[in-house]
Symmetry: C3
Subunit: 350 residues, 3 copies
């Protein structure tokens, strides 16, 4: 990415902030106060930033409504982190490669490339595969046979797409993503594990984005499905025949086992695990490191191993923290009881 130059006036409008400073100053890029150069924007979120603001070289700052003014051009906003995200959208100028096929790429005679497709060096596209208009396939990617790749997709270097994969429009695949890897399905025959042939494939909806090193296995038959708009982080593994819904957010190193069904708008923190053949309903939120062993109802908010409803998990954890004090407490109870019993014994004998 390179960075666009933007006037302060345009910036303020885009982040819905109030500009106190010169309209026409041009800025490009954003940096912390100590690091910002004279053409860059910086930001003040809380009082901790006030000291550095005195010596920053930044051209202007995004500043929280809750702070006192500083002696720099300011764009006042209520939510500085959100304003930073918006500013980044303005500055971003994706390096769109010139369409064309690098001479080192190997495009099978029976492959079909749309208009304005950019194919990088050492890319291989096998027979029967179609790449839609405007898609960018970067260096070293491998597209197997009979794949469908939609329009305006962007595959980072090293992506591997196995035969018969179906990939929607505007799909972004990170470095070394694997689509259509062999499913991990075996059956025992004469005491040995025999691989069950996986004749299915993978189907990925529009606007899906997948992080570096993530693997999506193909189905035994039919499709492993990733729904439209779902975003997946790095080093996730999605097993054969999983159906992952639309507009989900799946953080890094999560694993979803075979034939699990995950609904729409589900959010998983990092390192979550989902057991095979279960159903996680729409809108479920699972904290990082949750292990989901059972079906979960719509909207459940869970964490723990196994996944518990959030309130229950918090209660258990609170009790657990106090647990080391209990043995003494119970021992004392037992002692008091023994004392009472012997007293009562006396009493009765009296």
């Amino acid at each position: 990415m390179a960075e666009n130059k933007v006037t302060l006036a345009r910036l303020a409008a885009h982040v819905a902030g109030r500009l106190e400073g010169p309209d026409h100053t041009e800025i490009a890029g954003i940096a912390e106060l100590q690091l910002a150069g004279p053409a860059e924007l910086s930001f003040l979120i809380n009082e901790h930033h006030l000291e550095a603001a005195k010596t920053t070289k930044a051209a202007a700052v995004l500043i929280s409504d809750s702070l006192a003014p500083v002696s720099l051009p300011m764009v006042w906003v209520s939510d500085v982190p959100e304003a930073i995200n918006l500013a980044l959208e303005l500055f971003a100028k994706p390096l769109k490669p010139t369409p064309g096929i690098h001479p080192s790429a190997l495009i099978a005679p029976d492959a079909t490339l749309g208009t304005d497709v950019a194919i990088g060096p050492c890319v291989v596209v096998e027979d029967g595969t179609t790449v839609g208009d405007g898609s960018v396939i970067q260096a070293g990617c491998y597209l197997g046979r009979d794949c469908l790749v939609g329009q305006q997709c962007c595959f980072a270097p090293g992506v591997i797409v196995a035969d018969r994969s179906q990939i929607g429009n505007r799909v972004v695949l990170g470095q070394n993503v694997v689509i259509g890897s062999e499913g991990f399905g075996y059956r025992c025959r004469d005491g040995q594990q025999c691989h069950v042939p996986h004749l299915g494939a993978v189907r990925i909806g529009d606007d899906v984005e997948i992080g570096a090193g993530t693997c999506v296995d193909r189905a035994k038959f039919g499709f492993t499905v990733i729904g439209r708009g779902t975003k997946i982080d790095n080093l996730v593994t999605i097993a054969h025949n999983v159906r992952l819904g639309e507009y989900c957010l799946i953080a890094a190193q999560t694993g979803i086992a075979g034939s699990a069904v995950v609904g729409d708008r589900v959010v998983f923190g990092g390192q979550v695990g989902v057991r095979d053949n279960i159903t996680v309903a729409d809108g479920v939120v699972a904290a990082a490191r949750t292990a989901i062993h059972h079906d979960l109802p719509p909207g459940a908010i869970v964490f723990g191993v196994p996944a518990l409803e959030r309130r229950q998990a918090l209660r258990e954890q609170a009790v657990l923290r106090r647990l080391p004090h209990w043995p003494a407490r119970i021992k004392k109870l037992e002692q008091r009881l023994t004392d009472l019993e012997s007293a009562a014994d006396h009493c009765q004998r009296d």
Copy 2:
């Protein structure tokens, strides 16, 4: 994979089912009832499938012995999922690439290729390496120096095999598998971590299958060993000098630390961790997410962090679930005791 056409009679024989329908109908492929086309097989596992069976276009169905007949050609079986696996074996027709070396591949003059070897585009094979008869090395694979690759192996695109690796026959490596990565072994010298040179290599037995993105580190000296017939899923890491036994099943995202010894026929669920320098005996089964910190005896069935024997873990978990009710219970005990004590005190004073 493409799909073979198979007659219903042959299908029924192969899945050991009883055919009720025309012998000679040809089918290719399997699909769910709603999705099956007129040349495909579908299946009925339970009553939930009865409704969809009325409108399916499938040519025939695998149907559970426990169900009432439907008005379609049927193959009766006792275990439908197992019959599906068997049917997939019939339908599977692996796309065996034509033997030969792609012109873009770089084969060192001192490498040795067996007969009927297929080498894909952009593959690199370094000096001193041998690839056995009938093996398939797909696009972009890299085989270092002095490696031995057996017969009938299949390496998916992007596999990287480091120098001196020894790989048996019929070994299947998934996309981006790394064999022989540097071991993570350091020693502290003058307060800094110095890498210990790893002069060893990796030895992989016959019929091993390894999933996409998995890494197997080479040994400090000697070999990191993966025994014959062992199957490993995606994104697993196996550290230097691990000895993993024969016919194991290791699910995704598991990590096995340095010099751990894992016996034969061991089964690990996903995201398991094994500590360095411990021994997991033959036949151990560890549920997903288990952390194995200590040696485990033969046949142990464990889960949890740290790994506990299954029955103990279940008992602890059951108690844990009731734990939030205990503080009130103990408090009540204490109150009753206090009441009694003051009554007793009264009594004695009386």
Copy 3:
């Protein structure tokens, strides 16, 4: 790696051991007693090794001070595993490739290569990128635009370095490492997740080593930073804007979430997770599988989910192990109390 030949005298001096045997015997390599050949070194750590020592073919052994002598040339040392590490340093002879650019490599006209750089087959180096003197870029690596790669670096096959990455001197990257992958940062707009452009990059200090398949995301703005001398294992993911300190050891499959700050000389076991936006101070040690949800003070030694101070975690775990015996104990207390209460009741009525 090949192996150097070394005399026993030089070996003894290097490992600071006492030689009992011929000075000039040459050895190359190290192996277990049963496997060692007549030109190899072996070792005796404890009495379990005494039996195998009787039949070994090894030329000499490293032997622990605590053992009785054997009838082989011996190098006495106090710490055998450490002596093995030192011996490996002597034997190691890295296969340094001849400098030069493989004819299949694609070096952009505007890229700058230092002296004695070795570029392997199918490597791509884009415009504006500099590779320092003596660095080795192995087969199939991809270096994006405007990257800085220092001197004496070694990138294993399949490494992908995204645009604008800054990499120090003597950095070692394992197979399929990804530097500068897209950050996983979204903001919700009209109910859909919109990717926040990540205009930043990655900066990696001198002497960093990173294991196979690990991914380091680039920053939203500024840099994701990995400090000098830090060593990272396989399949780790480091999110956007993380600042990881100097001389850390990060074991396999660990994940560090966005904008987390990790201090110097921190040690993480395998499969650790660190939450976003928290601070882990210098010298923290987290056991394998720890989930760090909160800031940790300098030197804290933690484990568990969530991370607890080691002593507390051990205490909780010990209590937890006894927990299944408690319900019976509490039930008995309640019974005794009931008995006493009814006795007291009697007593009062009497």
